[in-house]
């Protein structure tokens, strides 16, 4: 399956990954090979087949709406790249 360079950049943007211009051709080739492998799927008629999302077709378990976790904010934030007064710091989003 052929991809163009714009599509490669679009996929990379969706994935929040940057592809170096010198790597685009190689990345495109690798993605095309994988999509060629995957393309075999299209030949199968799956009309009326229910998608299988989970090996046991189990539905999500429900539980009582109770607090089960304790607040460990300090412990969890100790491993964060940047925090201040209990908040995670990121670059400014709104001026």
């Amino acid at each position: 399956m052929a991809l163009d360079n714009d599509t490669v950049h679009t996929i990379a943007r969706l994935a929040r990954i940057k592809i170096d211009p010198s790597e685009v051709a190689r990345t495109r080739g690798a993605l095309e090979n994988i999509l060629d492998l995957v393309a075999q799927m299209g030949a199968v008629d799956t009309t009326g087949i229910e998608p299988m999302t989970h090996p046991f077709d189990a539905t999500m378990r429900l539980r009582a709406d109770e607090i089960t976790e304790t607040n460990q904010r300090e412990k969890f934030q100790a491993i964060a790249p940047s925090t201040q007064r209990g908040l995670y710091l990121v670059p400014k989003v709104i001026d």
Partner: protein
């Protein structure tokens, strides 16, 4: 020199011949001595503290089966207060703030964790070569050929095969326990999906990921799985079934066992030497009273294509959490929030992980969902239905674990699809969620191990282990020591 099993270590501990501290120190010394790069980190202090605690528990009457036995943990399991990298630069400095349920379960039984084993980055790989922490040397490598241990649980496999640990944990999304077990002459079990909790096990493809034991023998695998498995309310897909002793039927007779051989597992692409080894192994089962029947899994050729949609799609979603905000690597320089995410991920992820995230993002993107993800899930049902039909005629399905033996490092890194073909026989069991395992079945002319693949119906791990154990009682392949193992003849 022969293999050291968990059973032997447990007997030594039980009789007082050796203490947990002594055994753990011995293995820690071996790890230091080894040059396999099997471990990403070793935590001696934690290991010896656990060993001391185990010795005290024994002194006060605790007789848990594996109390005080040291093992290695794949570096995909979070252990509170210790480095947990998942083989990635993005988690190089990540100190887990909690412990995976599987590890907690093991610790509650007094199993000692010595360190964290090397692995393909985020468990994506079949050779351990995608690890940020470098490749792992297969202990079966020859003087002139550096072979891969398989992957993604390559460090765990190498650690056990090199006798740096008597057993290790692994995880298996498409073959990551069974393929390295086959490459390193071990017993590796992927239990039914949901048997072992995924809580604290860094997610790759959540509908496929499953933890399991990697050991020398089926008997050991049963004992280790006993300590790992169990219902966990913290994992929404954990199986709420009654706890069972996976060792309970190890010695049952195989008289009347019906073995199904799917013709699809013996077709083009299978190395002829491997085919012969597997046929010989199957004959051994006939001598043990089993009968052979040809079965068919007509959709198995669709397993690899559907897997390479489902696994990357789930991975692209799971790995979106690595954005440099709450934990892990963050880029130094960035202009805005999106730039920070992008630089962090571009710097932090390796090539294979990026490829799979992009395939997943593409398959899930607007306009492609039905053709890719939904179609893959429909094929997944067809593949699972094939197993249901096949098991009407047989008790176990057998075949080769891999198309060929361990290959040379660097020989397949340029062609991702060629690498993916390694898992062609193992992936169907993940898609269907079935228990499956690989056991040592013989050696090629050049002395490399070959694995026999076993698949049983849902929740029949005990049956699978019984079949594997009886085979190991009748053969000695699993007792062979790798040339560069501690005690091996390099």
């Amino acid at each position: 020199m022969t293999i050291t099993t968990l059973v032997q270590l447990a007997a030594d501990l039980d009789s007082g011949k050796r203490s947990s501290v002594e055994i753990t120190q011995d293995y820690l010394a071996r790890i230091k001595q080894s040059e396999h790069n099997a471990f990403i980190s070793v935590n001696e202090e934690l290991a010896l503290n656990q060993a001391r605690a185990a010795d005290q528990k024994r002194a006060s009457g605790d007789r848990s089966a594996l109390l005080g036995v040291p093992v290695a943990q794949k570096d995909i399991f979070c252990i509170d207060g210790t480095q947990t990298t998942c083989g990635s630069k993005i988690l190089e400095n990540f100190i887990a703030p909690y412990t995976a349920t599987v590890v907690e379960n093991m610790q509650a039984q007094g199993v000692v964790s010595m360190g964290k084993t090397n692995m393909d980055e985020f468990a994506m790989g079949s050779s351990n070569e995608t690890s940020y922490f470098g490749g792992v040397r297969n202990p079966w490598s020859t003087v002139d050929k550096n072979l891969v241990p398989g992957g993604s649980s390559g460090g765990s496999a190498a650690a056990v095969a090199a006798q740096l640990a008597p057993a290790a944990t692994g995880t298996d999304t498409g073959g990551s326990i069974r393929q390295p077990a086959a490459f390193c002459n071990l017993t590796g079990i992927k239990p039914s999906y949901g048997r072992c909790s995924r809580y604290g096990m860094i997610a790759f493809a959540s509908s496929l990921d499953q933890a399991g034991p990697m050991t020398h023998t089926a008997e050991d695998a049963a004992l280790l799985l006993n300590t790992m498995a169990g219902f966990d309310a913290k994992d929404s897909t954990s199986l709420n079934v009654e706890a069972e002793d996976f060792s309970k039927s190890l010695n049952d007779s195989l008289e009347g066992l019906k073995i199904g051989l799917p013709k699809e597992f013996f077709g083009d692409g299978l190395d002829s030497e491997m085919a012969t080894i597997i046929e010989t192994a199957v004959k051994q089962f006939e001598a043990l009273g089993a009968s052979i029947k040809e079965v068919s899994l007509p959709n198995s050729h669709l397993a690899l294509p559907s897997y390479y949609v489902i696994a990357p799609a789930e991975a692209s979603s799971n790995l979106s959490r690595f954005d440099g905000v709450r934990y892990g690597h963050r880029a130094d320089q960035y202009t805005d929030l999106v730039d920070m995410y992008t630089k962090t991920r571009t710097e932090g992820f390796g090539e294979e992980v990026k490829r799979r995230i992009m395939i997943g993002a593409y398959a899930l993107s607007s306009g492609y969902y039905d053709a890719y993800y939904s179609q893959a899930q429909k094929l997944r049902r067809l593949i699972a239905n094939d197993f249901t039909s096949a098991f009407e005629d047989c008790d176990v399905i057998m075949g080769p674990t891999t198309p060929g033996p361990a290959f040379e490092a660097g020989s397949r890194t340029d062609d991702p699809v060629a690498m993916y073909l390694n898992d062609i026989y193992t992936i169907p069991a993940n898609l269907a969620g079935l228990p499956a395992g690989s056991i040592p079945a013989g050696f090629t002319a050049s002395g490399l191990p070959a694995g026999l693949h076993l698949i049983t119906p849902y929740l029949q791990e005990a049956k699978l282990l019984n079949i594997a154990h009886k085979f190991q009682q009748a053969t000695d392949w699993h007792t062979r020591i790798a040339p560069s193992a501690i005690g091996g003849k390099a």
